[in-house]
């Protein structure tokens, strides 16, 4: 690789990263300012640096319990999504059955439908079952769009694994569960990482279902954030601080799955 090309690539990458980071930088910048400073003047960094906004969030139970609630239902949701999607994706990737392509496509209609459509049915169902305002309610509701997504992502990765690997494993005398857990799963680690990350992400940022299905005990952070909008004027600074904090759990998750995303595909295992 000659240096000219290398520099061009690096420049492109840096330009893209700038584009990606600047709005986030502006949010971080806002979170250290006071409300007056945000709306009155333009500055690249806070002139009157303050931790007050973060202090508000960490001391007010209405704020920090939102984070805990969100984390709980998102974790439940991701685990169920992946557990359900793995066998489904394997079936779609390896077996041919009547209408498989159509079923595969129709799975996605759940993902296509705006969440508002599911709102009323969920509301009635959960009221009947007594699930309202629990973490499980939101976690289950979010399965509607996360399971199809996980199945699709995992199927993509599974289809990239040559079928010969399955066959070789059977010839070697592996049973199916053993083959699936010890040989197949490590091969699609990247896919599992990516699917888990996306389940986490879509569940984390979803507002409508999470807000409607909870009131007090399981109120998620995204719903808490809408509260500042309706308060006296607009509490830009606290909202920005809360926004910065909502990035943190996701950033930690992706830090953990980054190896699965990045690590190559270990051929020659079998």
């Amino acid at each position: 690789m000659n240096t000219g090309r290398f520099q061009k690539r690096t420049l492109f990458l840096i330009a893209y990263l700038l584009f990606a980071v600047l709005p986030i930088y502006w949010m971080v910048n806002m979170s250290f300012k006071t409300n007056d400073e945000i709306v009155s003047s333009f500055s690249f960094w806070p002139q009157h640096f303050t931790w007050a906004n973060y202090k508000t969030i960490f001391t007010d139970p209405a704020w920090y319990s939102g984070y805990i609630n969100s984390l709980i239902y998102v974790a439940i949701n991701s685990v169920i999504s992946i557990a359900v999607a793995l066998p489904a994706a394997y079936a779609f990737s390896r077996y041919r059955f009547l209408g498989d392509k159509h079923v595969f496509f129709w799975l996605l209609t759940n993902r296509m439908t705006p969440p508002a459509v599911f709102l009323l049915p969920f509301f009635q169902l959960y009221t009947t079952l007594g699930l309202m305002d629990t973490h499980l309610a939101v976690a289950l509701a979010h399965l509607v769009f996360n399971v199809p997504l996980a199945v699709w992502i995992l199927e993509g990765f599974m289809s990239g694994v040559p079928r010969e690997i399955d066959e070789t494993a059977y010839i070697d005398g592996h049973t199916f569960p053993r083959f699936f857990l010890t040989i197949f799963l490590p091969l699609i680690k990247a896919g599992v990482g990516v699917a888990a990350f996306f389940c986490f992400m879509f569940s984390w940022v979803e507002l409508l279902l999470a807000r409607t299905l909870t009131s007090v005990n399981a109120k998620p952070i995204v719903a808490t954030m809408t509260r500042t909008v309706s308060a006296a004027g607009m509490d830009w600074a606290v909202l920005a601080a809360a926004g910065v904090l909502t990035i943190v759990p996701g950033a930690i998750v992706i830090w953990f799955v980054r190896h699965y995303i990045a690590r190559g595909f270990a051929m020659g295992r079998v």
Partner: protein, 241 residues
């Protein structure tokens, strides 16, 4: 808002997602390049991945709020930068600017999704393929066309379909950013639907509207899906079932 508005104004709601999609399709090859310039190992790769993914993790209503400030000419970086360049820009005043801001915001928000999928897909291609290509003396383009593109087919299909569906359903971000204005410039389909159903209680028309809305998405996705399947199965290595 009523139904006697000129048809071309309604067409905007339909055109926007399509343009967004085209924009993303154009971004795809670019992102492949980005993925290429992302080192495969080491802390830089990890750091770049995390930084790229950040915008995905912000709740949607906060995305709108950030851009509300970010785009303002007096107190926002983006608006101020444009003003410095001498470009007249106001997302609250001009329909075109509002529209472009929504587009840019959406690109900013969702490009990482496509990028991450592509990156993970690329990493899943065994090295043996590249070695074989090197032995055969394949050009860069050939490597892209005959190794990477077919191997990325599944991932790309998910990425494009997801983007397509989501840009059709776009609601929260433009609602927070512009509230649908100025005029009706950024009142997209789902927002129009919500206004009709919740704002005016035209439940009958709203129900019909939502059904047609869903059918449009379904039809387009079905066409896209079948087309991509066909592109895939025409590969000699992939025997149609």
């Amino acid at each position: 808002m009523n139904d006697s508005k000129p048809i071309n104004q309604k067409a905007w709601w339909l055109i926007l997602p399509v343009i967004l999609c085209v924009a993303f399709s154009a971004v795809l090859p670019l992102m492949t390049v980005v993925n290429y310039s992302v080192p495969a190992k080491g802390w830089t790769s990890s750091a770049v991945l995390v930084v790229v993914a950040l915008s995905l993790l912000i709740p949607w209503n906060v995305v709108g709020t950030i851009w509300q400030i970010y785009g303002r000419a007096d107190i926002g970086l983006f608006g101020a930068a444009l003003a410095k360049l001498g470009i007249e820009y106001s997302y609250t005043g001009s329909a075109r600017d509002a529209w472009l801001t929504v587009l840019l915001m959406d690109v900013w928000h969702w490009t990482p999704l496509v990028a991450l999928l592509c990156y993970a897909g690329l990493r899943a291609i065994p090295d043996a393929y590249y070695q074989a290509a090197r032995i055969d003396g394949a050009s860069k383009w050939a490597v892209f066309r005959f190794i990477q593109l077919p191997k990325l087919r599944g991932v790309l299909m998910i990425a494009v379909l997801l983007r397509f569906m989501d840009s059709f359903m776009i609601y929260t971000e433009p609602f927070v950013l512009t509230g649908g204005g100025p005029g009706n410039a950024t009142t997209f389909l789902s927002q129009y639907l919500t206004q009709k159903a919740v704002g005016q209680f035209d439940l009958g028309p709203a129900a019909a509207f939502s059904l047609i809305y869903f059918l449009i998405i379904l039809l387009l996705c079905f066409i896209l899906y079948n087309w991509m399947q066909r592109v895939g199965t025409s590969q000699p290595t992939e025997v149609a079932s």
